[in-house]
Amino acid sequence: MADLSIRIHNLELKNPVLTASGTFGYGLEFDDFFDVSQLGGIVVKGTTIHPRQGNAYPRMAETASGMLNSVGLQNRGAKYFATDIYPKLTKYNTNILVNVSGSTIEEYIACAEIINELDHIAGIELNISCPNVKEGGMAFGTSCASIDAVVSAVREVYHKTMVVKLSPNVTNIGELARAAECSGADSISLINTLLGMAINAETRKPVLATITGGLSGPAIKPIALRMVWEVAKAVKVPLIGMGGIMNSTDAIEFFLAGASAIEVGTANYIDPLSSLKIIEGIDAYLNRHNFNNLKDIVGSLHL
């Protein structure tokens, strides 16, 4: 058994596998399938200060090796999370992060302040990359100035580990990662979904009610790997990589590109046990290649 533990700022992860926001509910939905405390961490559903109904149906389109979604941050708000969901999560012995989003900087701050009071929440993942909301979301994540504004503002009120989740819908991800780091990000996670579109030729209509949505799944893995690679060269903070990770080989590729940890997303829909299988597979890989420690392969791509 290799040492799979890894540190992301103040988070001590027992292994580098987390689950991506919006694909794992609050973890509770997986209790029937396995003990989620075995994971390195859980990033729970995107939370906003006010309840959000999300977008209209249809919200999903299956595409080649992936899917588009346009959920639009449906959630019952930070106060509901704190009073009704959070008490159920304290049973888990793993790092729980809350994905925090908003339409304005004030909303991000208000949401982060509520989450900051919850002892059992180890950190937040600041979502400046949701492509499915009309205001805020991705708009904050596509320029250095707006990243600086929102990350610095939340940094002032949030005192535990703050991961900033970047959007891939940009031209120079390294520059934006640097902006997040300079503004106080303790870690950077990437990538969120890529903006995409599906059309039904028979009806001559878009498949999604919102016309466009976020693409996830194996289709985006090459882009995610390239972006993790670029960001690894641009910043010093640890990276959490994601984008189309379906198995442990995919995960290893992200470590080689420079990620210290990974998030499993769309794979959770297809096999709820995938994150667990990925942990086992990472261990098997390290043993097979005679590494005692996961840290030995992070950023170790042979060029």
């Binding site: 249809p58 919200r59 999903m60 090796s65 992936g66 829909y269």
Partner: protein
């Protein structure tokens, strides 16, 4: 009723008509309890073009043999591949998913209304309703007589009535054109329906006008099937609800259908 993912062996595959296949699947250990209206999410082959699972109503359950059956209507590539699954091979199945129909204590006059592959979710319901001494009838609507399948199976548990759009069997027209939907709805006290949404909306309107208890089973596009992707939502009086976990069965009074 714990959700589980299991490899189930295909022990029979029966062609019902041009586009319907009945697969019987066997578990190697005792089945989880499955209630009428619940569904299973089947992994096709994880190929690039069929990436997600496909949800199907559970048509029948046999706890003594550890078998379930699913009724597959061939619509696209995923269902075409599933319909061709060979006997002896295994399918990765997530089940039991979703809520279930509300079962009355007994002595009610119950009408089941099914259309297309929607009839699949009504078989288990018919069995349980009959067992609880309800007076059960089923009305199945189809385009043509060739689309009416498994009528004999239903006749074990209920009186069977049919409509076809082309008049090749039963009453010509839609289900709501059938005399069962005449004045006073023939004394029915409950209606359950599963099928194409326009059909269910028409049935719901009839039930609503006579203030009869009515539940419908919805089929929305879903990515996960267990309440985490939030893609399969429907509008309800309490906001967006997931068809996979808050449903698939909804009382018509919960839905924001214009009836």
């Amino acid at each position: 009723m714990r959700k589980t993912v299991q490899e189930l062996k295909v022990i029979s595959s029966q062609r019902l008509n041009d586009d319907h296949q009945l697969l019987q699947l066997e578990a190697s250990k005792p089945l989880e309890t499955i209630n009428p209206g619940q569904f299973a999410n089947l992994l096709v082959d994880n190929s690039p073009s069929v990436f997600l699972r496909r949800p199907f109503s559970i048509y029948s359950v046999d706890y003594s043999l550890n078998t379930i059956s699913v009724y597959i209507k061939v619509i696209g590539e995923g269902t075409r591949k599933l319909a061709k699954t060979e006997v002896g091979t295994f399918l990765n199945v997530m089940y039991p998913l979703g809520n279930s129909f509300t079962i009355p204590e007994g002595k009610e006059r119950v009408l089941l209304v099914g259309g297309g592959s929607g009839v699949a979710s009504l078989m288990g319901l018919a069995q349980v309703l009959k067992m609880k001494s309800n007076d059960v009838s089923i009305l199945i609507g189809a385009r043509s007589s060739a689309d009416l399948v498994e009528l004999e199976q239903f006749s074990k548990y209920c009186s069977v009535y049919t409509t076809t759009e082309d008049g090749t069997a039963g009453v010509k027209g839609y289900v709501t054109d059938h005399p069962l939907f005449g004045e006073e709805l023939n004394g029915f006290t409950r209606i359950y329906s599963c099928g194409p949404e326009p059909m269910m909306r028409a049935v719901a309107l009839k039930a609503h006008l006579k203030s009869i208890f009515c539940e419908v089973s919805l089929e929305n596009t879903m990515a996960c099937g267990f309440g985490v992707c939030l893609c399969c939502i429907t509008e309800t009086t309490q906001g967006h609800k997931c068809v996979c976990t808050d449903g698939p069965v909804f009382n018509i009074n919960q839905l924001r259908w214009l009836i």
